[in-house]
């Protein structure tokens, strides 16, 4: 490959000193944009956590009054009692914010932006300007979503899945009015932003890799972002289409999703013939791939952390890559498993069951490969490693629940109960959360040139993982007892009275979980300013980002010529006084094993 062909955007231009605004606000640097996404996502997580607190206060102590909350939120807590409509809005916004504005931003756009160019040896993303636009459109969409709390009627209340008719009839519940409209607009911006950053990731992986960085030498993190981005690009337009149609149903009198004969608030609606199930199909055509968009990077991150702490190569690298590809492809054709009770034909249900069972195969192989990577290693129990083990634990437990749900017969009983809530929190909540914390501890030194505190990190780990596991493990059993999700006052039902104590335990654990996140906040902020200075490669890891300084210069690798000579998991080799060889070490110095 000729040298000229390897120049990439951002490299050949010289970089005059940029002012503060160009450098940190409207920056084109993928590292700055990545960190902007991460910080935005973490702030949104605080909002999401506050909402979770309200949910769990209501469910744990259903007949208490909350004078303090009544003062803070006079509309939602009139007389100190949570209003049922407010509860619905809180649940809806908790889900929306956590899935789209916390996890998607931190894990996919944030780490994706930061890591992908560094790990493939590029000087920046393929389209830096589109990347900056992506962040600012994304920030706008987050602001819009938050703003919807303050409009007439409050935030959307139709669930993060926005099923019509609740989401389509503006008079259905207070949140169905302005709040729902803003929800839809915000999602449209979100999709635009995610599309821009997805295009960037795919194009970067395809065409701006360093010389020698063949696809089979890419770290699993890069592979996972690559596949997740393709998935996102193909799946998100379905929600765009659905959102457009829903907006027309709401504001132009069409009947895409509204059936005939609806009576809302004593008023007979004139719509006819629309199909609420059509929305469900379109939503889940996006929604199911979206959950994999989130979990694949989480698994990828864990796969890159593990070898650095076991000092041996990841087990079954190529097989794992093929599993990612298979999971990506299959995830486009299983969406119907969210709709088993929607009256679909048993044959369709059978198909979706079988497809769903099929997707557990590559997922299981991937998980077993991760487990096997632990075997026989000289494990260093650093904080990133602890979180990676938690990724594995939650992935296994959540996947087990998925097996029951994927079986149409069992799902008839379990759907819309807390079993589902437990399942998806372990997956989309837990695996991703643990990977986020693991990744932040692991790459913090690279991002900011300082180490995070180990002791606080370990305390934070135990105070996060333990209550998290208890909460969502117990929710599976609540579901088996028949407790429906999204109910505001379970005490109104005789058969649920016995779940009282369980809900109390869950809520108490939730309070511990949420409170202990302050440890992380303290650690993060304190380490930013006072953390021990980080070496270039504090974890003795092999991928390219560790071969440059901490934090890396604007063009990532400085003047140095960048050539990749080996795969990303060259651990446990003889290399002078070291037991690893980074991807730039030439074969003459250390033999290439893969």
């Amino acid at each position: 490959m000729s040298h000229a062909a390897t120049t990439v955007p951002g490299h050949d231009q010289s970089h005059p000193e940029l002012g503060f605004i160009r450098r940190y606000v409207f920056s084109l640097d993928h590292k700055v944009i990545g960190i902007q996404y991460i910080v935005t996502g973490l702030l949104m997580a605080l909002v999401g956590a506050a909402l979770a607190t309200l949910i769990r206060l209501q469910l744990g102590w259903p007949e208490r009054t909350w004078p303090l909350l009544a003062q803070l939120l006079p509309k939602g807590y009139a007389g100190g009692v949570m209003a049922p409509e407010f509860y619905l809005a809180v649940v809806t916004m908790h889900g929306t914010i956590m899935v789209f504005f916390f996890m998607s931003y931190v894990l996919v756009s944030g780490f994706g932006n930061y890591l992908v160019p560094l790990q493939v040896g590029a000087r920046d993303m393929a389209f830096p300007l589109a990347n900056m636009l992506s962040f600012w459109i994304g920030a706008l969409s987050a602001l819009l979503m938050i703003a919807s709390f303050f409009v007439e009627g409050g935030a959307a209340a139709a669930g993060w899945t926005a099923y019509p008719p609740l989401s389509a009839v503006a008079t259905a519940v207070p949140g169905s009015g302005m709040g729902q409209t803003i929800w839809l607009l915000s999602m449209a911006f979100f999709i635009a932003s995610f599309t821009l950053s997805g295009l960037n990731i795919v194009a970067t992986v395809f065409s701006v890799r360093a010389p020698g960085m063949s696809m089979w030498r890419m770290p699993l993190t890069v592979w996972s972002y690559f596949i997740a981005s393709i998935l996102g690009l193909l799946a998100f337009p379905a929600l765009t289409a659905a959102a457009v149609m829903l907006l027309f149903d709401r504001h132009a009198g069409t009947s895409f999703f509204l059936p005939a004969g609806l009576v809302v608030g004593g008023r007979h609606l004139t719509n006819s013939g629309g199909s609420p199930l059509l929305w469900q199909h379109l939503f889940w055509f996006l929604g199911h791939p979206e959950v994999y968009v989130l979990i694949l990077p989480a698994l990828g991150i864990a796969c890159d952390i593990i070898p650095a702490f076991t000092r041996k190569p990841i087990f079954g690298y190529r097989l794992s890559v093929w599993c990612l590809v298979a999971v990506g492809a299959l995830s486009m054709v299983v969406w119907g498993h969210h709709m088993f009770v929607s009256g679909m034909s048993p044959f369709t249900g059978e198909y979706f069951s079988i497809a769903t069972m099929t997707i557990t195969l590559p997922m299981t192989v991937f998980g077993v490969n991760m487990l096997a990577s632990l075997r026989g290693g000289a494990i260093r129990m650093g904080v990133p490693m602890m979180f990676s083990c938690a990724v594995l634990a939650l992935f296994g437990s959540g996947g087990l629940g998925g097996l029951y749900l994927g079986n149409a017969t069992a799902d008839m009983q379990l759907t819309d109960t807390y079993f589902v809530v437990g399942h998806f929190h372990m997956m989309i909540g837990g695996v991703t959360l643990m990977a986020t914390f693991g990744g932040l501890h692991y790459w913090f030194p690279k991002m900011f040139g300082r180490m995070m505190n180990e002791t606080i990190g370990k305390a934070h780990f135990w105070l996060t993982f333990t209550p998290f596991f208890i909460i969502f493990f117990m929710q599976h059993f609540l579901g088996i007892q028949g407790a429906p999700r999204r109910y505001y006052a379970f005490t109104a039902y005789d058969f649920l009275r016995e779940t009282r104590i369980q809900n109390l335990v869950v809520s108490s654990c939730a309070m511990v979980l949420i409170a202990s996140q302050s440890l992380f906040v303290v650690n993060f902020v304190w380490s930013l300013f006072r953390g021990a200075p980080a070496a270039d490669n504090p974890w003795e890891a092999t991928t390219l980002e560790w071969t440059t300084s901490s934090p890396p210069p604007h063009d990532n690798f400085g003047q140095a010529e960048l050539t990749v000579h080996r795969w990303p998991y060259e651990y446990g080799v003889e290399s002078g006084d070291r037991d690893f060889a980074d991807q730039r070490v030439p074969p003459g110095r250390v033999p290439v094993t893969a």
Binding site: F206, P237, A238, S275
Partner: protein
């Protein structure tokens, strides 16, 4: 000297092409989603066909002619006949604007016949699909205008590679949207 129609691409040009195609793939998925919704909704008991205004055929012709004009602009530009190329770009732009106006006429005719969006599911889809397509055409006209300006101001003469890349993107987008339109038109008139 003649510019090669397909010069060897630089790494950067390849990346841009790839990015463009991926973006168009998402647009294709968007219309595929609309189309699948159409197929599902078509089964509803209240489906009532509307009569599509015949001006749509004329609009289709304008769009096809626009593609032709762009091809001509590309071909003469590659032979460095910049004046003809500018003229051809101008024609393509005019045809594109003509298409949009024609679509407006179609809306106007339907509306004055009393067929508005909620009238029937068929009309709902008609307005939505033509509207979504028209928005994409507006964006494409922006790109086309840019390429036309490159040609007309002589920037293309000074930087032929840049011109060729811009021309390539414009043609790709325009032909793609023509394809989308033929698909949409066939769907709403045949099924």
């Amino acid at each position: 000297m003649q510019l090669a129609l397909e010069p060897e691409l630089s790494r950067r040009e390849e990346t841009v092409r790839l990015g463009l195609w991926m973006f168009l793939a998402t647009v294709a998925m968007l219309f595929a989603a609309f189309a699948s919704a159409y197929l599902v909704r078509r089964g509803g008991s209240d489906w009532m066909r509307i009569n599509l205004p015949p001006v749509l055929w004329l609009n289709t012709a304008l769009l096809v002619a626009g593609s032709g004009a762009l091809e001509a602009a590309h071909a003469v530009g590659a032979r460095r006949r910049w004046l003809s190329a500018s003229a051809a770009c101008g024609v393509a732009l005019a045809l594109g604007v003509g298409f949009l106006l024609g679509q407006l006429v179609a809306w106007e005719q339907l509306l004055s016949a009393g067929v508005d969006m909620p009238e029937s599911p068929h009309s709902s889809f008609f307005y939505m699909l033509t509207g979504a397509h028209a928005l994409h055409v507006v964006a494409a006209l922006g790109v086309m205008l840019w390429t036309g300006l490159l040609t007309w101001t002589g920037a293309g003469r000074r930087q032929p590679r840049r011109w060729a890349a811009a021309m390539h993107s414009t043609r790709t987008i325009w032909h793609f949207l023509l394809g989308v339109w033929l698909f949409v038109f066939a769907l709403i008139s045949l099924y």
